[in-house]
């Protein structure tokens, strides 16, 4: 039937609209891609803009309010008094302690992460590569609280670590360490060293992944060339590998640093009674009811991270993410 029919009415060069609401919409999207783009962006931007940025703004606003010390009510007038309170010695102490911890945790994670990342990037192949990947990914995604709980089990006085050290006749070493002033305590689970270990454990995968990504991009023959030219493994590491891995380490340190700055659960469960920024925020907004001071406290990690990110960007860390 068809050949004659088709020949008699050739298809027009411009097709008519496909009809119906659905067709009209489809045509509109095709003709005005910007409209489609806007329509796609609107829901996520509205959500994040209102829920998230709006909340951050509310938080910032609160930090310029102050609390009336007698009634405990929040005085909704612009003032810098809360920031003045923030600069008290006790609070500066908290900030300094947290930043020191974050720096130490970052350093330790980098040191432990490097061999794992280097092995995975350079030597692991095929099956092993997948295994390494999962080996980092599974702990990364395991429940945060369960990981902390596991360390409570390990570090407890009657726990597996004490048992192991007793078997190895090394208990004196633990006791000597615990008797030290700042890092020690009654047992590891109530000492600053305990807090440190758990922080390193929980954030370590965040360091491994970007370092590995950076090392994957180092051509293997670069390392060979370095040793052909007479460099010792140590020199190769210092002059070739480390500079090339540095953007990855900086990228990883964004996570370890930022996560340590804001955490309040780990030092609450494993550690001393000395506060970290996160705990200070939590207790100010909870028991003390001083939301302005809590808000001012959160501005500290935001500012520190702002500078950190700025520095990291200059070192090219974002390309390694």
């Amino acid at each position: 039937m068809t050949t004659a029919a088709l020949n008699s009415s050739p298809a027009p060069a411009i097709l008519p609209g496909s009809g119906g609401l659905r067709g009209a919409l489809s045509d509109l999207f095709w003709r005005r891609p910007l409209f489609l783009l806007l329509l796609m962006l609107l829901p996520p931007v509205l959500w994040l803009g209102i829920v998230y940025i709006g909340s951050l703004f509310a938080l910032l606003l609160q930090s310029f309010f102050s609390i009336d010390e007698f009634s405990g009510l929040i005085n909704r007038e612009f003032t810098l008094k809360t920031y003045g309170d923030l600069l008290q010695a006790a609070n500066l102490d908290i900030i300094l302690r947290t930043v020191t911890m974050a720096a130490l945790v970052t350093l330790a994670s980098a040191i432990i992460a490097f061999p794992i990342a280097y092995y995975a990037a350079r030597y692991a192949r095929g099956r092993w590569k997948a295994l390494f990947y999962l080996g980092v990914m599974l702990p990364l995604w395991s429940s945060y609280l369960v990981k902390i709980y596991a360390w409570k089990l390990i570090l407890a006085k009657e726990g597996i670590l004490t048992w192991l050290l007793a078997k190895l006749n090394l208990l004196w070493l633990l006791d000597a360490w615990l008797s030290l002033p700042v890092v020690g305590g009654n047992s590891l689970s109530v000492s600053a060293s305990g807090t440190f270990i758990v922080f390193v454990y929980v954030w370590l995968p965040f360091m491994i992944l970007p370092v590995q990504a950076a090392l994957e991009r180092v051509p293997g023959n670069l390392v060979e060339a370095s040793s052909d030219l007479g460099a010792s493994p140590g020199q190769t590491f210092r002059n070739v590998l480390f500079p090339l891995a540095l953007p990855g380490i900086v990228a990883g340190s964004i996570f370890t640093f930022s996560l340590t700055l804001g955490d309040y659960i780990i030092p609450q469960i494993i550690g001393t009674s000395r506060l970290f920024i996160g705990q200070a925020v939590y207790s100010q907004q909870g028991t003390a009811g001083n939301i302005p001071l809590a808000a001012a406290f959160t501005v500290v990690p935001i500012v520190i991270m702002g500078f950190y990110l700025w520095g990291a960007k200059r070192m090219g860390a974002f390309d390694a993410l």
Partner: protein, 271 residues
Amino acid sequence: MRSDRGQSAPLGLKIAATVGLLFLHLPILLIFVYAFTTEEKSFVWPPPGLTTQWFAVTWNRPDVWQALSLSVRVAAISTVIALVLGTLCAAAVSRTKFFGRETISLLVILPIALPGIITGIALRSAFSLAEIPFSFWTIVLGHATFCVVVVYNNAVARFRRTSGSMIEASMDLGADGFQTFRHVVLPNIATALLAGGMLAFALSFDEVIVTTFTAGQQQTVPIWMLEELIRPRQRPVTNVVAMVVVLVTLLPILLAYYLTRDGDQIAGSGK
């Protein structure tokens, strides 16, 4: 780094990498042993005996079931919201270059780039300024916000791999926009979305820091666990719940990995 295939690693490196991996895994394995211990009052090692009775005890605890049900409902709804928002955002960002594109990706990443406590207290202070009472939906609001980025990361990686000419070909062959989406785009990104959804579910199921600020008196599983960690009531029950939580979060991660392993390099590195 293809040239050094077959070359074996120096011994020191092997040892350091192995020790590092053991450091990452042994603590989690310990949880499984403790779930069977007969000891009730302390964390004593080695366990004095092994028993399965705590599974039955946990099974009959209504508070555990309530927390579990709340967690699953919150995670499911947050995942759905994150899937819609994350996919839309990824599609927009990867299809076209437009002014403010970098800002959009920053906006999506910000909720997990800033410490959770900031997201938490920001939401809390917004709720208090707007006088919104705590409810199921205040938890969802927080969770969906930081889950968007996981879906977004997975979807963006897949969109980058999918060639735009396939969409043009579909349109040339006469499919309208909706047909193209249904028959060309969706099949291409489906596994990435599934993976992103699984990761978002796991992330929400496990979240505690933001939740403590948005839940009020309600208990999700992580909040229940946090209470037990601070004020232990029945340690063996906590052990069993911890083990179940490990299993519940690991399955979606493994699935997500198998769904995206060929090609997208980031199955969940964006936590």
